[in-house]
């Protein structure tokens, strides 16, 4: 589990909430001593008001009622004799189950058993909610399958619906399968330390949705997949910090980590997206993104960007080992970006927009290396000063290979290739740039400088046939 981010990661308002979370954790840590365990030993959906250990004496409904009636972080387990781990395919058909209301949290764990719930079209299978203003902590749902709900199959709501504005912390959803339902939702004020692991949401109209209305902190989704609408969507309206999505697959809808304010230390790694309506993987903030990292992501067939980092200001984003094909912008930066490393990107075929987009005010001081753009509308286009391009390859892009716009100095384009592009191979609209040791062949204009005298730009040791000015060498 990720650590709760340090104070330096957060804005002051969020830091105060973070301290509150830590205090809550201290209080909650005393709860397990009073916890009880209720073992479901019936396939029925009845209740006589008691969860008894006698054979057939405890239905799931009775176990939830008992847990709600007991203080502490109780556990609901399943009798392996009734729910054998192998050779057992029955669904438990249940109508709307009671909301699980203990603020100390509850464990529902089918480990060692086979537990599958058909929730009969009720809103949720498992709904966790506290009273208004009461934080919710330590919810665990593990080792079971759920289906057939009209809203989120597993719903964790701090403070209760519809506002879900009390804090939520220490949620674990692990080895859960959700089918034919609206996925998983965790929502609260400050939401922290949520972990979703080895979970599949399939045939669904909703994915994995985690929202902190005040902040989303220290959350991790790993080894999980969504096969339906909704994708993996993590939102912190007041800020996001310390969020990781790793080893994930998203089909139809992609992966989004979003903040309505600032965002820090967010990482999407080892992910695959396919046929996503919007983008493949995005880290976006209305405010500043700091240290946004996207690595080893493959996005194929997407509506907008393959991967994207977007903020009013982006500080030091990292994109590494990205592969995109068929969609809008292959790799996109949006906003004013300072610094950052963009390495080992391969953007191929049919990106209708620009393959490597730097939109907004500018991108400055970035290192763009080992980038390949093939058969996109434009190969690589960056606007801003002092960016370093090295070993960039742009081939067969419709409107051009490598385009740089910079009113400042310090741009360097070196040891790159631009071949068979439908527009200029390497085009500068810049001052103080150095373009050297590149190869530009077979383009509709190999090398181009917007200034016929090249101004303060230096072109040297390039291999090319067609240049827009004699000063290009």
């Amino acid at each position: 589990m990720d650590r709760v981010p340090s104070r330096s990661d957060l804005r002051p308002s969020i830091r105060r909430r973070g301290v509150g979370v830590m205090l809550l954790l201290c209080v909650a840590s005393g709860a397990p001593a009073r916890a009880a365990t209720f073992t479901v030993n019936s396939l029925l959906d009845t209740t006589d008001g008691a969860c008894a250990s006698a054979a057939g004496g405890c239905t799931l409904r009775e176990a939830i009622e008992a847990a709600n009636g007991a203080a502490g972080r109780d556990a609901i387990l399943f009798d392996r004799a009734v729910f054998p781990s192998a050779g057992f395919t029955d669904f438990i058909t249940v109508n709307a189950l009671p909301v699980i209301t203990d603020p100390a949290g509850t464990v529902i764990d089918g480990e060692g058993a086979t537990v599958r719930l058909n929730c009969s079209g009720s809103q949720h299978c498992f709904a966790f909610a506290t009273a208004p203003g009461v934080p919710l902590a330590k919810v665990t749902v593990a080792n079971l399958g759920v289906l057939n709900t009209t809203l989120a199959a597993i719903d964790v709501c701090g403070g209760g619906p519809p506002s879900c504005d009390a804090d939520v912390s220490d949620v674990l959803i692990e080895r859960v399968a959700v089918g034919s339902a609206l996925g998983i939702r965790v929502e609260g004020g400050v939401v922290s330390k949520v972990r979703v692991a080895d979970t599949i949401v399939s045939n669904s109209q909703g994915g994995i949705f985690i929202e902190g209305e005040d902040a989303l902190l220290g959350t991790r989704v790993e080894r999980s997949a969504t096969h339906g609408a909704g994708g993996i969507y993590l939102l912190g309206e007041g800020g996001v910090a310390g969020v990781t999505i790793e080893d994930a697959l998203a089909l139809i809808d992609g992966i989004v980590v979003q903040s309505s304010a600032d965002l820090a230390k967010v990482k999407i790694a080892d992910a695959t997206t396919f046929e996503t309506i919007d983008s493949g993987a995005r880290i976006i903030a209305d405010g500043t993104t700091t240290g946004a990292t996207i690595t080893n992501v493959v996005a194929s067939s997407f509506g907008q960007s393959g991967v994207q980092v977007a903020g009013a200001v982006n500080r030091g984003p990292t994109m590494r080992r990205i592969r995109t094909d068929r969609g809008g912008n292959g790799v996109a930066l949006v906003g004013s970006t300072d610094g950052g490393k963009f390495q080992d990107l391969m953007m191929v075929v049919g990106n209708v927009g620009v393959a490597f987009l730097a939109a907004g005010t500018s991108v400055a001081n970035a290192k763009i290396t080992d980038v390949v753009s093939v058969a996109n509308e434009v190969g690589v286009f960056v606007s801003g000063p002092a960016n370093k391009f090295k070993n960039v390859t742009a081939v067969a892009n419709v409107s051009g290979g490598i385009g740089v716009v910079s009113s400042g100095g310090g741009t360097v384009v070196e040891k790159s290739r631009a071949m068979a592009n439908g527009g200029p191979g390497i085009a500068l609209d810049a001052q103080g740039a150095a373009v050297k040791k590149n190869v530009a062949l077979g383009n509709d204009g190999d090398l181009s400088d917007d200034d016929p005298s090249c101004g303060t730009n230096v072109w040297e040791k390039n291999a090319f046939r067609l240049g827009s000015a004699p000063c290009i060498r």
Binding site: P84, S85, A86, G87, T89, R116, G145, R175, A177, G179, D198, I200, S202, N203, R223, A225, H227, L249, L251, D270, T272, F274, E275, N296, V298, S300, S301, R321, R323, D325, R326, D344, M346, V348, V349, D370, V372, V374, A375, T393, V395, A396, R417, M419, A420, V439, L441, G442, D446, L447, A463, F464, R465, L466, G467, S468, A469, P470, I472, R473
Partner: protein, 487 residues
Amino acid sequence: MHPLSHAIIIVVVTFAALSAADARAATFVVNTTADTSDDGECTTTPGGCSLREALVASNASSARDTIAFDPAVFPLGDPGVISLTTPLPLAFDPAGANLDGAGAGVVVQAGAVGAGVDGLVFSSGGFPLGSVRVANVTVRDFQGTAVVICGGNFPACANDVAKPVVENVHVSDTANAGVAIRGRAIGKARLTNVVASSHGESGIALDASGALVATRIEGCAVRDAGTPQNGAAGIQLTSPVAITGTSIANSVGIGNGGPAILVRSEGTLSNTKLTKVVATGNDGSGLVIGGVVAAAGLALADVVAVENEIQGVALFGGAMTGVGVKGLVANRNGGAGLRIAPSATLVGAKIADVRAVGNAEEGIDFLAGDVRGVQITRTVVAKNVGVGVRVRGSSNVLKRVRADANGAGIHLDAPGGGNVIEQCHAHGNDGVVGGAGIRVAAGNTGNVIRKNAAQINDGPNLADGNPDCAGNTWTDNFAVTNAACLD
């Protein structure tokens, strides 16, 4: 003598001969764009040396001469265009030649020459051909091939070729190939920064009647070469004997009539490495690589093969050893993402960090043959119409493979045994091939399937074709199962 030994000796002998010859080499500077041969001589007076005259002069000189171009006549950035009136003479010096437009802008175009005529042709008249270098020129519009490097008499090309170099060259719009290197044994060919577009046959073709040794292709782009009718590859390396020591890196093949890259030995293939290669929109497969008799030491790293008509990557061989595929992305191809087809045996392949998504057949498939010791790790196969990963044989390991939303997830086909599947995911598979999550076929026994997750598949999440899972161990899997022996 082993054919490779023969090839290496030829390369060494030829290189030694060239070293002596270079001392007598001359440089002829082309200083006119006109295609004339008014006095048959290449002189330094303005307009006194056409390309035709330079070739004639070079042929008369028994050394590896250089043909250069006057930048005043062929300005860099605003190239001088030589438009031919008749076919150029063959260059036929066995010592080779160096035709280099460095510092200049040079275009040689077919002009008035017609059907079947090639552009620049280098041959060696019944002797091995050494050290031809063609650099920094554009050659276009020929009804034949733009640049031919031919060991021996042209067009038979029955002698060896050593150290041909083509770099910073653009060839386009030819009826045949872009660049063709033909000979008996071909050694140490280097093609760097070659752009080949719109050819009736291959963009780059190395065709050896003997062995093809130590070829290096770096930074080349081939598009729209070959027609679907002839199926020529963008980059095509062929030998009836052996291909060894091939390296292709940072290169692209797009929209070709056959595969982007074909490396095919009718005998053996060894020590082949492809790194950072993109193959997309080809009418054939993305890459087709193999040796009919044997293929050893075949390494692919960071290859992207998307939207090709057949397989993304197809590897084949008789006996296959030492196959490594790392970082492959093979998406939305008309066949399988990665298909490995040993006709006899495949031993010891390592496949890691592969993504194969949205292919019309399998994601990763081992077709036929006896497959042993394959490791597939950290791999995602999803939305493939066929099985996500299909393996047959024994002692193979699949670890951290995710096979979701395919026609079926992971299949161990028979015969085989002793395989391990662990920490894999197989969810939501739902296709016409059964939709099972993880399936072991009848006759494949002694396998261990543990710590996997398989849920919400249309077929069984876990399936064993053997009665009572005989000989297979299923433990600690997160799945709903229909047989007690599955866990």
